[in-house]
Symmetry: C2
Subunit: 155 residues, 2 copies
DNA sequence: TTATTAAAAGACCTTTTTATCTTTTAATAG
DNA sequence: CTATTAAAAGATAAAAAGGTCTTTTAATAA
């Protein structure tokens, strides 16, 4: 449904929304470590997001990535569109050529409401609104393994 | 969410449920053509489904694939488990290491109800019940392009 | 018992996705 | 200016997914 590349891109962009500004730009390395994503891969994704005007960058000392005022108005679906295109996320769950209600696959009427729901979520809020909401609600933004270890090392 | 392999396997097995029997076994070639799937690839999948006791086969003249009485009691989730394993379909939509409500990703509470819904659908009916339901409801079981052409060729 | 049929098995190939590495460009601090 | 910093660009590589082909095995009809 979403490529790993899109997932990385969404999490990283939301991370930028929460932690960067024009005065506080963030390097690929820092973001890659924070959300636990391979940094050369993320660097490639960021190049593409910059070209797609989803995020911004400057080179040199204190350079890095950040969101301009225009960038802040984009939404999560713009990120997905930029990385995967829209076909992938709109495609039929069972792989039929067309996902539509006139020729539905066996699970179409379960999938469609969900798809509308999540596409709405990704479209109807700006990156900044989305980022605020998830920080208010305490949603996770890292791929790091956070599961507690079975026993604390002790004496 | 589902690999193409799983999708092929599900559609093909449902096709067997609808069209085959111990007296009327069906060859890979026939199924592959009916649902428009590459036949050598489907042959590999079927080998695996036979080993997993999801479908049955016999070699030789009038041989082919069919569902035994035991096979008919399996469900769609058994197919998915056999091809993809269960991890893939249970994984987090955003790629987090764990999908659970205590450490939810930004879309967890949209995804979870859908996932329960569709997993229920795949688990609570036998292959035969599922196959009957979709034929009653007229759901599509082919990957063929069925979209009407823009204009009929004429004089 | 032989020829034929169709699956099983396993080697192999191609494409896509994911990931890495090296060189170049641009910004800026000193 | 010059050294340094960090992204851009682009080549390359590794892994996974998807797909094909050839040989072997088993069933059966003639
Ligand atoms: S037709 Fe399959 S999900 Fe819509
Ligand atoms: S934690 Fe992401 S879907 Fe459940």
């Amino acid at each position: 449904m979403l490529s790993r590349a899109s997932k990385y891109a969404i999490l990283s962009t939301l991370f930028l929304a929460q932690h960067s500004s024009e005065e506080r730009k963030i390097s690929v390395k820092e973001i890659a470590e924070s959300i636990d994503v391979p940094s050369p891969f993320l660097a490639k994704l960021f190049q593409q997001l910059v070209r797609g005007k989803i995020i911004s960058s400057t080179k040199g000392p204190h350079g890095g990535f950040y969101l301009s005022e225009k960038n802040k108005m984009k939404n999560v679906l713009d990120i997905i569109e930029n990385i995967d295109g829209l076909n992938k996320i709109n495609s039929c769950f069972m792989g039929l050529n067309e996902c539509d209600s006139t020729n539905p696959c066996p699970v179409h009427f379960i999938v469609e409401p969900f798809k509308n729901n999540i596409l709405g979520k990704f479209r109807d809020k700006t990156i900044m609104e989305f980022a605020k909401e998830i920080s208010d609600k305490g949603r996770l933004l890292t791929l790091k393994d956070i599961s507690p270890s079975f026993e604390e090392p002790h004496e």
